[in-house]
């Protein structure tokens, strides 16, 4: 029998017939090259045992939490019908019509929000006929969200070293932006901390915009999040619950 890698690989994977396997056993007794190849293969496989380790503790919780924060799952029937493809196309057309990608809009939104308490600057010193910039941002977001609630992967941004993911939802006609991060969000100076809540929750209002945040304690793994929407502040916890965020 001559040396043949295909036969050697079949032998190692137990895929030779009984007769061929016996013949290969005989071959191994006289062929140093094949014998060394078999030994090296087994040593390599054995070394890999070291890497069969479980996922780090906490990764399952992190995944479960992120799935919860991903919000409302896709409408299965709608997806099967392929309407999501049409929807994406529709969104692209709207974006092209606005001449500004949604990513930039969302980035502008988060820059404003992360300033914590600085929302006012976009609402002041504007002519009365000029709608507040933040309202225009929200209005521009409106066409970008699904008519029916839909799961989104989210847009990711990095602001001053804080990685933030932003998703947008339509809840009973209102646009709700949800920002999530592995680090707590800075609270606006005007925020009210909700007593007795764990993790720490806060609410704030700027003009007609309301914010509601839930911050994980520093040093503890988990996802902090906050919502912003043009609706009464007291309604936001209910919206968060409806989106299965809390």
């Amino acid at each position: 029998m001559s040396c043949d890698e295909g036969r050697l690989v079949a032998f190692l994977n137990g895929r030779l017939s009984e007769e061929d396997e016996h013949a290969f056993d005989e071959h191994l007794l006289t062929c140093e090259a094949c014998w060394q190849a078999v030994r090296a293969d087994r040593e390599g496989r054995q070394a890999l045992d070291e890497l069969r380790v479980p996922a780090p503790p906490g990764l399952g919780d992190r995944v479960t939490s992120s799935i919860r924060l991903a919000g409302i799952p896709p409408d299965f029937e709608t997806r099967r019908a392929g309407r999501h493809r049409l929807h994406r196309l529709h969104r692209r057309r709207l974006r092209a019509a606005h001449g500004r990608p949604r990513r930039v809009v969302a980035a502008a939104m988060v820059v404003v929000l992360l300033g914590g308490g600085v929302l006012g600057w976009v609402l002041q010193d504007r002519p009365a006929s000029d709608p507040p910039q933040i309202a225009r941002v929200v209005a521009m977001m409106a066409p970008a969200v699904a008519d029916e609630p839909a799961l989104q992967a989210g847009e990711r941004f990095d602001f001053a070293g804080q990685a933030v993911t932003v998703r947008s939802y339509r809840v009973e006609g209102d646009i709700v932006l949800v920002a999530t991060s592995a680090r707590p969000f800075p609270m606006p100076a005007t925020s009210h901390v909700l007593s007795g809540s764990s993790p720490a929750a806060w609410m704030a209002a700027e003009g007609r915009l309301a914010m509601y945040g839930v911050n994980q304690p520093a040093g503890r793994r988990g996802t902090s999040m906050f919502l912003v929407a043009a609706m009464p502040m007291a309604k936001l916890p209910e919206v968060a619950a409806r989106l299965h965020l809390i």
Partner: protein
């Protein structure tokens, strides 16, 4: 909604260990393995309604592998990034700390050697030996014939053994 999410988690969470190994060893960006796993679950959740395959594990590994490889291609086009934290060590399990530390040293050696294998050989080894996929599933993942995949895995095993043996010899000098 809750039922869907629960069904998704019940079907997919048992494969989190496999996904972590793939995320950690299929590419070279070890410190992002947990991020890749989380993103894999988010994408899988978004497409759960479309999942009809017989193997949930193979489906999840496909998503994870695509993420790792596309990230690798993006990084190859960019200037190299240096992580702020160099803590690439494996998580410590419930074993005795000293035993775990020694085992960690061996794991790091094997992980470093695996990282040096040619990409096709490394992928075949990771998917077959660490993810537990069949040769046919790996062949479908990599778009190559089954025998080619088996041959790559075999060469990967041999190269791994040779690299570790060389390292041992160097340490004895």
């Amino acid at each position: 909604m809750d039922e869907t999410r629960q069904a998704f988690l019940e079907a997919t969470l048992p494969h989190i260990d496999v996904l972590y190994r793939v995320a950690r060893h299929a590419g070279h960006d070890h410190h992002r393995a947990e991020d890749f796993v989380q993103e894999t679950y988010l994408r899988a959740y978004a497409n759960f309604a479309d999942h009809r395959g017989p193997s949930t594990r193979a489906w999840l590994v496909t998503i994870c592998l695509n993420l790792v490889r596309s990230d690798g291609r993006r990084r190859a086009r960019r200037v190299a990034e240096v992580p702020l934290s160099s803590d690439d060590s494996y998580p410590v399990g419930g074993r005795d700390v000293a035993d775990e530390a020694l085992a960690g040293v061996d794991r790091e050696r094997v992980a470093r050697a695996l990282d040096r294998l040619p990409e096709h050989h490394r992928l075949a080894v990771v998917l077959m030996d660490l993810a537990g996929l069949s040769a046919a599933e790996v062949a479908a993942q990599l778009g190559r014939p089954r025998n080619t995949v088996l041959s790559w895995a075999h060469r990967g095993h041999r190269e791994l053994a040779a690299l570790l043996a060389t390292e041992d010899a160097d340490r004895e000098l």
